[in-house]
Symmetry: C2
Subunit: 473 residues, 2 copies
């Protein structure tokens, strides 16, 4: 047994003895339908916050407090355990709000009732991100109960509005920057590479969503009595949208593409057939890119999607010229695309191609930043070593095609500290869909990784100076 | 007073004395909500049929009978008055079913309660086509009550399923061709040229409606986790639809255009500004064609319209790649476009351009024939003369951009007899919309026109031979 294994043993032993207690906590958290979406009661969100606060106290965190965010029913919960001001401080984040259950008829067991089937725990939020909440809490509990104290200082922040885009996070961070001050952030809200391989996510795409509407008439018109001399807003919108891409679906605006970082990134080997099955591609449907380029495309290249298009509707389709047509699109962005500039270019293009003087509106309710991190900081090595110990396998340094807009704000607000995006999810998790589930094995390995990680950090950063810079390698 | 005016005087005098009685009948018909659409009770449709049958008897028609169509609750009503087998026979058609009321909140008075405001009668079906039903009945009544008999033989057929596309008409006509045998048909179901100018519609566009769906996935996908390597069915559908037209919105398939009759047709002078106002064009929205070409385009040229497009929906728009996208389109056809060939060409084109092996479905539930008539038959001169007497103005020989698919079947079933499409509607009628109305002045002039018309026919066709051909000039 190495020195580090001896040091973590009390904590890991405590974990092995108490797993069922943690699953019981998860079950209690899942039972509270803390859906943060408008149109759902926000009372359960607040009840869930209270429950999280109780658990924070139970695992030995101090100064546990409920801090108001944008909406007092979706508060932030903060707790800390400062063992020694000279030691480094790790900030654990997670969110306790969840997505709506979706189509309840598609769930094999009730969404808000945690059910164990084949070593997976099914329920809304079981993984995203109540599994993350429990990961943070179990890590602290195992150290405090097993060893009597943590090897580093720990701060924990849980939020209740992540699923609606964390609208209050930036303001909250500004207000509480001193309280949250730390040397690194752990964000357990992404996937592992696969069920057997851990991952650390080192880049996220951003998002520039926008809505387009063209209108020609005060009301829809009978297509027999009017079509021919009059423009057709629905057709015009099809043409305008089609002009944004080439015939392969690649963004066709050179000024947007000129911003993209074209440096080659490393991508691990990859099973295209499995990807096809997970995506649910119908027979014969082809990829847009060569199979060996799929992950590059997904992680590191921009893409444009028509998320929704509506002109009249399938239910009410009649022989009309639609007075207006509307679509929602989004561009997933990568380094170093400037979201405002991307939007301005798209808008200028649509204005240029909008025909017949149709009234055009192009709007966006805000952008999500892309994010990428250097892995030079010692914390990344510490996490890689810890994961290898827990999983028996080196983690993959992954990209992620999705956006977590707050990561950029979070690290910036705390002065550019490293963020470690890790996960309790895997490809089978189906976060946001029906039958969301947590792999027990994956979650347990994630906890053991974090137990090791705190010890690794303690040893890597053995003497803390007053300058944050010293924690970088 | 000319000879013909002397002959019609008893009938026109009867009309002037009995207008209020006819409006009372119209009021009683409008009070029956005879909406033939699925999802509405069909009991009122049948009640309306009984009421029409009663009125047919009251005006002096014989052999009034209720004949089953496709659906026994939407029957055909037939009546006749054969004055002299040697005289020509005029078949009057109309339909007693109506459109749904639409948004009842937009009606200024209850839709099924006829209300007189500023010399217009408001109510669902007041014009389309209970105003037509009354036109037929009043014409017969005035002759029979005023002169004791009609100057020609008259047959009257009223149907109750026109607003749902007359699904049973063709079968019905086949079955009852002998009963309906006549020398010409009067179909009062179109507009006059404007409120002061009568019109005879001599061409109708046809319609080739079709639905297109492309599907790529078993379910919609998170656009962050999947977009880039995967095709986007909603974008592909935009591109496919855009490829059907050029940048001016003209159909871009040369094989379709090669079928179109390019002979120049005559079009009356025309007020483009008024057309703009009636269409409700927003400020600055331009026509697709030069202003002096608007009526040609509308009446005599094909057009393609995207009637509806749906991928996800405005209400539920999320950051997804839609598993599928759907659209309904239609092509308005003109002589000599073959509908099946038009559909086959469109389908073949969409199959050719559908990218990435997306699953494509292109379907149509049937076509509506275009129709055009020569005006050489004496009946047209008779109607023009009659209208000039009633309105003090020559009628316009009009085209109509809309489709009335049964006109072609109707005339064919009766051996190619001429069809006279006239109207009680005008631009203010808003048939199918809320606040449908009938111009009292327009309706009264239409009745007087028809009273004259029967006498004109009687005189133009003074001796009937056994051959139908003799009635053509």
């Amino acid at each position: 047994m190495t020195n580090i294994e001896q040091k973590v043993q009390p904590a890991t032993t405590h974990f092995l003895k108490n797993k069922e207690k943690y699953y019981q906590w998860l079950s209690e958290l899942v039972a509270i339908p803390s859906v943060s979406f408008e149109g759902f009661s926000q009372e359960p969100v607040y009840q869930c916050a209270l429950k999280v606060a109780d658990l924070m106290k139970e695992v030995g965190l101090n100064h546990v407090q409920i801090l108001e965010g944008e909406n007092s029913l979706r508060p932030y919960i903060y707790g800390e355990r400062i063992e020694d001001p000279q030691k480094p401080t790790v900030l654990f984040y997670a969110h306790y709000d969840v997505q709506p259950p979706g189509d309840e008829a598609l769930w094999l067991s009730p969404p808000f009732q945690l059910q164990d089937r084949n070593q997976r725990l099914y329920g809304r939020g079981a993984a995203d991100d109540k599994g993350g909440v429990l990961l943070d809490l179990a890590t602290v509990d195992c150290w405090v109960q097993g060893s009597g104290k943590l090897p580093v200082n720990v701060k924990v922040l849980m939020e209740g509005e992540e699923e609606i885009g964390s609208p209050g996070l930036e303001t909250f961070l500004e207000k509480h920057v001193e309280l949250l001050s730390s040397d690194m952030i752990i964000i357990p809200d992404v996937e592992n590479y696969d069920q057997e391989t851990p991952g650390i996510t080192v880049s996220l795409r951003g998002i520039v969503p926008f809505e387009v509407e063209v209108q020609g008439y005060k009301q829809s018109l009978h297509s027999g009595l009017w079509s021919g001399p009059l423009p057709d807003p629905a057709m015009s919108l099809c043409q305008m949208i089609a002009s944004l891409v080439d015939d392969k679906g690649n963004i066709a605006l050179p000024e947007i593409l000129s911003m993209v970082d074209t440096q080659k990134k490393s991508v691990p080997p990859f099973d295209a057939q499995k990807f096809r099955e997970e995506a649910g591609l119908l027979d014969g449907v082809q990829f847009r890119v060569p199979e060996n380029h799929i992950k590059e495309s997904l992680w590191f290249e921009p893409s444009l999607t028509v998320n929704a298009f509506q002109a009249s509707s399938r239910q009410q389709a009649g022989n009309i010229i639609c007075d207006r047509a509307w679509a929602k699109l989004s561009i997933r962005t990568v380094p170093f695309m400037e979201p405002q500039k991307v939007f301005d270019l798209v808008k200028a293009h649509l204005e240029k191609v909008c025909p017949f003087g149709l009234h055009l509106s192009v709007t966006s309710e805000g952008f999500g930043d892309w994010w990428q991190t250097s892995t030079d900081h010692k914390a990344f090595q510490a996490m890689q070593d810890s994961m290898k110990r827990a999983w028996g396998k080196d983690p993959v340094l992954m990209g992620c095609g999705a956006s977590i807009p707050f990561v950029q704000s979070f690290t910036e607000a705390l002065g550019g500290v490293p963020a470690l995006l890790i996960g309790v999810e895997d490809a089978e998790t189906k976060a946001h869909s029906e039958n969301e589930s947590l792999s027990k094995q994956g979650w347990e390995k994630a906890v053991v990784s974090c137990i090791y990680f705190l010890e690794e950090v303690s040893e890597s950063f053995s003497s803390k100076s007053s300058s944050r810079g010293d924690f970088s390698s």
